[in-house]
């Protein structure tokens, strides 16, 4: 019996080649894309899943409710972790986690290594099993990963051996106590080497400083303890350690936040850290994942819709067969089963093709979206079960409806070729409307996202982005001297205009790192906050900032070391009339600073954010070198800078890039999103049109006689083409009407993420609608013109 079904299924698929082709191609493409998207979503949502104690581990974050803003941060002060462990009940373990990195030497091998400084409890809380050695981290120990071990020690056993690390200006030796398995690719915590937090460069001066917020802090609660009880207990804790700050906040008019305090200590579950907007370890975007998942579901839905529509439409031609079968004693279930079987065969072919396609596309997909997806995920039984489940569900839904329809109709009626598919094809029409609603929705989204990304790219940022090379200094020692030597070296070269340095980059450079430094201080009974940037001489000139008053730092003025250059926002916050030369202190009894100059506001952060106050001063070592070059031969200028770099710091990698490359990199995520929109829109349109093409073919097939009669009566080709197309285009029109407001709402939500954004104008919807109509019209016209041109004698003879 079953073989018989499969056989018929196969012959039917073969017989209706055009329709099957549409069905299988559409489904295969949809499955391929859905598979890739769903695997991505799965990977992102299973981040940090491998930790055995993941249910009890949380990252600590802090909210402060100021009168005009709420500040949230997940970087905690140094003494907070040990204090938490002692003062708050229900905590099993605590660890701090700080980013570090330095040169490491073993014999004659020297390399840069990324280090995480942690407390010793880190190894007990998180699941990073040891391959060799004991999971113990002494004060002068380091723990390395397998990969690091193979770099430095090749085949030898590293446990007990010594590694020499560059610390500040000297070299220090550490003993390797264990080798860990490499952290999996879906781990938020990624490192080459672990060492004790006490060894961190800034630990000594900050270990009891409650106002320096810089360490990610994780707690492991006792089993059964709720994070709410932690937060409740933390209230007294905050009152104790931040008494003065709370007092000041109250005086400023701060009101308690939603948790009832001016400050709040909360917990982010480890599973949510990856998506957290507060945690610096969170680098994924939940919205984008949901978008991806929706696009996947859309595509599958649209391809299945084609399947349903085509199967129902073809039921007319197959009615006789079903009638005959029923007459020979086929039960309803048997007929239904047969049609489900056909759907199964077809879907299975599509699944295999789709999986194959996904496999072929995977490298390009990874490259496009910068993911490390691999098909090994498919080995997980959960994923396999998910795919099998989705496959059966879609098959059952898409195959089941037509099957039921045929099985239910009366034997005699279908034998006579009459099948009721609902009055006026309501189902078919509404499915077409839904398809095209999705298509126009995605067209609108694509247009708007594209406009916004373009806007971001072309908006003037208030500083020179095109002619300035930014060079990360990385772990170079004595960076100030390096900058000076670069300055001397490059000053002679033609094509170089000026040179400066700073401790922060614009956007995201090729070193991939970005920092935010802020300072908070009281000024005339107001709590102010400002970004904090250490710069070198000629910063204003090199970056083409515009001074609205005062001057830049000057080598010849000895007092400039306590000078500040601020932006207009900061000047407004300070609220002084004579801002140039204004003197103030950040902390009572500390050094007095004076304002040297005010620059016009510039977008030192991404356009997601409004321009914030910034204070620039000359203190501390630089981390980035900026070289302004003459426009013209930019490539050659870049070469010049690179040559100078290689002469002065031989061996250190040159990661220079133009500033506009860096600033554009800030919008990678937005660009990715718009790429997903574009790809989704193109695919949905293609698949929808394939369906429309086939539906038009079948619909015209049913109206052959009518068309023939009309032609005999003198209808023109144009008249007949419009007659046929009108019905379908009406549906597309309805779809556009449904999609437009939805798109407007969705994209408005998305645009809210940007402080600087385009307005959505009505013509977008007009263009999107026109595009949908034109594409649909072209698709249908292939069929309708052919039908209109056909000789009526032929079409009438078939009756």
């Amino acid at each position: 019996m079953f073989r018989n079904y499969i056989k018929i299924a196969w012959r039917n698929i073969w017989k209706a080649k055009q329709v099957s082709f549409v069905n299988i191609t559409g489904l295969a493409v949809a499955i391929a894309v859905a598979l890739l998207l769903c695997l991505t979503v799965y990977r992102e949502f299973t981040f940090d899943d491998f930790h055995e104690k993941k249910k009890d581990i949380y990252q600590v974050y802090m909210d402060e409710y100021y009168p005009e803003r709420t500040s949230s941060k997940a970087n905690m002060p140094y003494p907070l972790a040990p204090a938490l462990e002692q003062e708050i009940p229900g905590i099993k373990a605590v660890t701090r986690y700080a980013n570090d990195g330095t040169h490491v030497r073993v014999d004659d091998i020297m390399e840069d290594v990324s280090i995480r400084c942690v407390d010793s409890s880190f190894l007990q809380m998180f699941t990073f099993p040891a391959v060799r050695g004991q999971l113990q981290l002494g004060l002068n120990d380091v723990i390395i990963t397998e990969e690091t071990a193979s770099h430095f020690f090749k085949e030898q056993d590293p446990v007990g051996k010594t590694m020499t690390l560059s610390r500040g200006d000297k070299w220090e030796s550490y003993r390797v106590s264990a080798v860990l398995k490499d952290p999996p690719s879906n781990s938020s915590l990624d490192f080459d080497m672990l060492m004790r937090i006490e060894q961190w460069a800034y630990y000594a001066e900050n270990h009891d400083e409650w106002e320096n917020f810089s360490l990610a802090t994780f707690v492991q609660l006792m089993p059964g303890v709720q994070p709410e009880s932690f937060s409740a207990n933390a209230k007294a804790f905050l009152d104790k350690h931040y008494a003065k700050k709370l007092h000041n906040m109250k005086n400023d008019g701060a009101r308690p936040g939603k948790y009832g305090g001016l400050m709040h200590l909360g917990l982010i579950p480890l599973k949510e850290v990856h998506f957290s907007k507060i945690s610096s370890l969170g680098n994924s975007n939940e919205t984008m994942m949901f978008m991806m998942f929706f696009v996947a579901v859309f595509l599958l839905f649209i391809a299945s819709t084609n399947f349903i529509n085509l199967t129902v439409a073809r039921a007319f031609t197959r009615a006789r067969e079903v009638g005959m079968r029923k007459m020979m004693g086929a039960g309803k279930t048997q007929v239904a089963l047969q049609f489900c079987g056909e759907a199964l065969v077809l879907f299975f072919i599509a699944l295999v093709l789709g999986a194959l396609l996904a496999f072929i596309l995977l490298p390009q997909y990874n490259a496009l979206l910068n993911y490390e997806l691999s098909f090994s995920i498919l080995k997980e039984p959960k994923v396999l079960a998910g795919i099998a489940g989705a496959f059966l569900l879609v098959t059952l839904l898409a195959g089941g409806y037509p099957a039921l329809l045929l099985a239910r109709s009366g034997t005699l009626q279908i034998l006579k070729g009459k099948i009721s598919t609902g009055k006026n094809n309501y189902l078919r029409n509404s499915l077409i409307v839904v398809q095209f609603a999705f298509s126009s929705l995605l067209i609108c989204c694509t247009l708007i996202a594209w406009q916004q990304v373009n806007y971001l790219r072309s908006k003037p940022l208030g500083f020179n982005t095109e002619e300035v090379v930014s060079v990360p200094l990385g772990n170079v020692q004595q960076s100030l001297q390096v900058v000076e030597r670069m300055r001397m070296e490059l000053a002679q070269r033609p094509g170089v205009i000026s040179i400066t340095s700073a401790d922060n980059n614009f956007g995201r450079g090729r070193d991939g790192s970005t920092t935010v430094a802020k300072v908070g201080f009281r000024h005339k009974d107001r709590e102010l906050e400002s970004n904090w940037l250490n710069i070198g001489y000629d910063y204003v000139k090199t970056m083409d900032l515009q001074l609205t008053g005062g001057r830049d730092f000057n080598r010849n003025m000895g007092t400039d070391s306590s000078g500040l250059v601020i932006n207009e926002r900061m000047a407004a916050e300070l609220g002084e009339k004579d801002i140039i030369g204004y003197r103030f202190r950040f902390d009572e009894g500390e050094r007095e600073y004076h304002v040297l100059g005010v620059v016009k506001d510039f977008h030192f952060q991404s356009l997601h954010k409004r321009i914030e106050p910034i204070i620039m001063l000359m203190q501390g070592p630089p981390a980035y070198l900026f070289v302004k070059v003459r426009s013209g031969n930019l490539e050659a200028s870049m070469k010049t800078v690179e040559r100078a770099w290689n002469e002065i710091v031989p061996g250190a990698p040159f990661l220079g890039s133009f500033v506009n490359e860096n600033t554009n990199r800030q919008y990678n995520r937005d660009r990715k999103l718009s790429q997903i929109f574009v790809a989704g829109a193109v695919l949905t349109i293609i698949i929808s049109c394939m369906g429309l093409f086939a539906i038009a073919m079948l619909a015209i097939g049913q109206r052959t006689k009518e068309i023939g009669v009309r032609k005999v009566l003198g209808a023109s080709v144009l008249g007949i083409t419009t007659l046929i197309s009108r019905d379908f285009l009406k549906l597309v029109g309805v779809a556009i009407l449904i999609a437009s407001p939805l798109a407007a709402w969705m994209m408005n939500e998305w645009l809210k993420e940007f402080a600087y954004r385009i307005g959505i104008s009505w013509w977008i919807f007009a263009v999107a609608g026109l595009m949908a109509i034109v594409i649909a019209a072209i698709t249908i016209s292939f069929q309708s013109i052919r039908a209109a041109l056909a000789n009526p004698v032929k079409s009438l003879r078939t009756e």
């Binding site: 018929i8 005959m324 020979m328």
Partner: protein
Amino acid sequence: MIQLRNITKHYPVGFGKHEILKDVDLTIHEGEFVSVMGPSGSGKSTLLHILGLLEEPSSGEYLFQGELVHRMNDKKRTQLHRGAIGFVFQAYHLIDELTVYENIETPLLYKNMPSSERKSKVADILDRFNIVAKKDLFPNQLSGGQQQLVGIARAIVGEPAVIFADEPTGNLHSDQAREIMELFAELNKKDKITIVQVTHSDVNAAFGNRIIRIRDGQVL
């Protein structure tokens, strides 16, 4: 075997109704070969459909093998279609996607017959109808007469008690028609299958042993 009592059938047309069968009383015994004759629109096809459980009468009683048909549920009717009733159509109604062999095999599949038994039954029928050579052909590769032969083979492979034939020779020329009618007569005599056929032709009707004439929905 078949008993009709006061069977009427009408369709609603506008505010009134269109009567197709009026008070039909009819008995057909086992082993009979009955020909239903009458002009177009007289209701003979509707009568056959009611007899074949494809349509419900508007009123009246129908006993099939002593059982009241309107009391039967869907399952029971399907059972009868599988076992007791065979159909032959003017337009053959073979399944285009199946070969001759598979077309004949299909009713047996619905009876859940084991594979070996199925094979021997189909082989017997193919042999008997002299169409062994054609068993792997598709219906559109056969002539009309051959298609109807397959249609009849399919109708009797399930060993039904009665065959309903709706103008079985309507699409055939006279030589083929005669062969088909001879086959029906043989099935009736040798296999004791009750046959009810609708026909226009007196020649065909002569093969049977009773003629029921029908006009304007009434049996004359």
